[in-house]
Symmetry: C2
Subunit: 189 residues, 2 copies
């Protein structure tokens, strides 16, 4: 998606060889017109899949997941992150490490929001090692819902998250693929 | 907003005399068409105010704040919540209690995202005692930005949050006003 590449070059900064800071564009301030375009692009790519709900993880994924769900005319569900795992009999929970934060959080989705009748599209802003994605996909598995695919705004292909999902046969669509952040430079694939 | 009232009667549940559960509608699952309508309504009410950015607090406020900002054609900024206050020289931070969670969190907004040239519209899903709202408004004050007003989807008028903001001369627009949740019943004003 050329528009997103251009905006990344204008607004993003490289924090380290692993971390791209997108906080003027996606995950603290949001370019709303760009996010809606990204949602339309995901809706176009997955439009043939009879999606019943879009799912994401709070908070950074919410704007583009909302834009995708709105375009598809379906509800959005966002998994909650909790710092401590309280017993929640009415929710599915999965413990995951968070790549940029150096901490562990629990993903929580209320059981009544997903069912075996659902076909889900998981949308997120960025994929690095994919720990959170795999946690959410375990929750989707427990719910019995079908996962139609995963839409990622920015895939860092030098980390393993996207590749590991594809190796499991999951359809992963990235709008932008970044091959390297070495030497403070953004190298697209 | 009659559509929102109807959807609340269909989907919300009363957890206690103080707490309305909106997790099928706004803050865990999101009715995306309804959220976009709410955004359009806020954009209509504040359309004359030359808003430069919409601001909210993660996570529940993000969908309707995004819809409002998208309709107004401006960026969205969402304040982060942190459990521990690390020294953040590049951010404004305010410590606030969280009404439903029984814990204290810190609101964080990066300094480079707000300036005295900004006119902000603060959008949130629900207002109870208004602690988070006042925290965010203190951050806005520190930034020098102008606050054009506050748009709230669901105001519980039997709690003091909305009233306290109005007493300070802040324009507060609520789409739905709830006078009581006593006896498990939702009584609109």
């Amino acid at each position: 998606m050329e528009l997103l590449k251009r905006r990344i070059l204008e607004e993003a900064s490289v924090l380290s060889a692993d971390v791209l800071k997108l906080d003027r564009l996606l995950n603290h301030q949001v370019d709303t017109a760009l996010a809606m375009e990204m949602g339309r692009e995901f809706a176009r790519r997955f439009g043939g899949e009879r999606i019943t709900k879009v799912i994401t993880i709070e908070s950074s994924g919410i704007p583009i997941a909302f834009a995708t769900a709105y375009t598809l005319g379906v509800p959005l569900v966002f998994a909650r992150r909790r710092k401590t795992l309280l017993a929640e009999p009415d929710a599915w929970t999965e413990r995951v490490p968070a790549f940029t934060k150096g901490i562990v959080t629990d993903l929580v989705v209320s059981r009544h929001l997903l069912s075996p009748d659902d076909t889900l599209l998981y949308i997120d802003d960025i994929i690095a090692n994919g720990d959170a994605a795999r946690g959410l996909i375990r929750i989707i598995g427990q719910s019995g819902a079908k996962l139609a695919g995963v839409g990622i705004a920015v895939e860092k292909t030098f980390q393993s998250g996207g590749r590991l999902l594809r190796e499991r046969g999951i359809r992963v669509e990235s709008l932008v693929r970044i091959a390297s952040l070495a030497d403070g430079k953004i190298a697209f694939e």
